[in-house]
């Protein structure tokens, strides 16, 4: 039995017969922060969504803490992309954060004062203590992102899966997220982020997964971010094709991991 927070074995995902992920193998190490990096359309968000069962996978196995997600849901928190919801929705920042507590509150029971206090604490942790009562459309983009983080925090999970938390946020939010990542790790938690910015990867994250439809390389940032690996991930498509041809001609060739 594996104790890895997240382990993915030969995950294949297709949209309308077009393959998006090819045999993705992935192993997230506990107590560390991992960035999933790759060019646009490389399937970074798809990987997270398929792992969480939000989109169907054609084949493959996904284990959280050695178990299927169903059994360990409360240990896993998901932070979707900010653009995935309508921020004009008539709720306050506190209401959104309280959604992270709904499972704890249980069916049909209302959100009580102590849940609101818990939501406010989570908001304070991301530096939004003064914005709890504000309608969510009146928050800046970075503040909205932090509300999503606070919702995941309120859930008190061990593994956090975040889809592009750093996308177009301001400096204050970037700092708030970084502080949060450090704190989650200090508490023994694990963080996985889809990340778009190559410049900051090594600085922000311990581990890196380079992804372009398949996993090109994974491991500690310093070992993975080599010019060769980056060329394989971002570089001319020709390189990839050449390799595919080589792979096909040698069916027994060992996979790169």
């Amino acid at each position: 039995m594996s104790t890895h927070p997240l382990e993915i074995r030969s995950l294949n995902v297709a949209y309308h017969r077009k393959m998006v992920l090819w045999d993705a193998d992935l192993c997230i190490r506990p107590g560390r922060s991992t960035a999933i990096v790759g060019p646009n359309g490389a399937g970074k968000s798809t990987l997270l969504k398929a792992a969480l069962g939000l989109i169907p996978a054609a084949s493959g196995e996904v284990l959280f803490y050695g178990e299927p997600l169903k059994k360990v849901r409360s240990r896993v928190a998901y932070v979707p992309q900010r653009e995935s919801v309508d921020w004009d929705f008539p709720v306050s920042a506190r209401d959104v954060v309280a959604m992270g507590l709904y499972k704890k509150i249980g069916w049909c029971l209302p959100v009580r004062a102590r849940h609101k206090r818990m939501a406010d604490e989570a908001l304070a942790d991301v530096g939004l203590a003064d914005f709890a009562g504000r309608q969510i459309s009146q928050l800046s983009g970075g503040q909205q992102q932090r509300v999503f983080l606070a919702r995941a925090l309120a859930q008190k999970a061990e593994l956090h899966l975040m889809d592009e938390p750093f996308a177009s946020v301001d400096a204050a939010t970037e700092q708030a997220i970084l502080t949060l990542l450090r704190r989650l790790k200090d508490q023994g938690g694990t963080v996985v982020c889809v990340h778009h910015d190559l410049d900051t990867v090594a600085e922000y994250f311990d581990d890196v997964v380079l992804l372009n439809m398949r996993v090109v390389a994974q491991g500690p940032a310093s070992e993975v971010l080599t010019p060769d690996n980056l060329r394989k991930t971002y570089g001319a498509r020709l390189t990839l094709l050449d390799e595919a041809v080589v792979d096909l001609s040698r069916p027994g060739a060992p996979r790169e991991s």
């Binding site: 969480l52 939000l54 849901r73 709720v91 499972k103 309608q135 204050a172």
Partner: protein, 437 residues
Amino acid sequence: MMESFWRVLLLQDHNTRVVMAGACLFGAAAGLAGTFLLLRKRSLLGDTLGHATLPGITLAFLLAETFGISPRSFLWLALGATISGVAGMGAVLLIRKTSRLKDDAALAIVLSVFFGAGIAMLSAIQQLPGGQAAGLERLIYGNPASMTSSDAWFVLLASLLVAGVCGFLFKEFTLLCFDESYALTAGWPVRPLDALLMGLVVLVTIVGLQTVGILLVVALLVIPPAAARFWSDDLRAMALVAAGAGGLSSLVGVVASALLPGLPTGALIVLSAALFFGVSLLVGKKRGLIIRHLLEREAARRLRREHVLRAIFECAEDMQPVVTLEQVLAKRPWKKNELRSEISQLTDDGLLTTEPSGASFQLNGRGDSEARRLVRNHRLWEIYLLNHADVAPARVDRDADLIEHVLDQRLVDELEDLLDEKARERLVPGNPEKKLP
């Protein structure tokens, strides 16, 4: 006329009481369920659903005729309506799943095909010897006056059921409508919840057949919640307002149609809901046109005032403290009249000391400190934009009273230093709050 008016208002008829209570409850239930339908962005599905009930109703009628059951029984027709309404929704889902058509196309196809089939069967019924379609027409255009007390009991129970489910599952439905994928990952049964919500909408539609009819039932699902959105940014309040608006519109519609016999009740109910929508659009407390216009005008006025104060301050900074109208005019492309009126306003507010002729003026103590604050804020924002071009555009908020309200103190200190440095190099005017060494 007066007599009938009082008869209606004082609920002297048993029948009027039943109809009013039934219509009112239905309106409230529709407003409540419609709130979630609207927030789930499924309003058009409600419309398709309403139209898709017609073939089921006509088929139920035909079957009843054939087998000799009383074809007018509302519950029997409602059963047919439910089955074909659900089949219509299933068809929408099927088209969406198996083709790459977008939702609007799938909805339009199902709506027109189902309604077309219903109309075809309806005209067949009308040509049957002895077959009376009158019982069906009341379901198409709505006629609550035909409600019997057993129908009213059905409406009452159904409305209470809808209200109860919406109340008990309020937070679950909220999560479903706001962020479905998060709900899924948190382990909520999203699909059953969605099916339940749609089931409530079906129930409301069936109940509404008798009140507003197939064609207009969507109006009571959508208009009251849409109107309620103008009044509140809080979902709980919005749902209550929507329920109230739905109930009230139904009540007003029923009373109006009792007073104006000959006009269809369903249409009058929808029109009174539309009236409520129009009023909300204008005077709604949160998003009404008037409040938004006032806020925008206030913002524009504040901006102009700040521009004038800054311009006067900068003129005084460059030259002598007494500033003329022409100097300020040269600063910005503004209209002379506008500037004049703003300056007399500032004088009245005790920020400027103006010559009797109005041609020249000077910032007094209060005006000077206000202008300094504005200029400092503005220059710091400018420096911020210059030096943090990557993130600044999302962050700059000139409306904020002080830059410190938006950016943290460390960053502001850094910007102040930068401003000093640039001022020493004479690239930009300095921070008016500080004396340069």
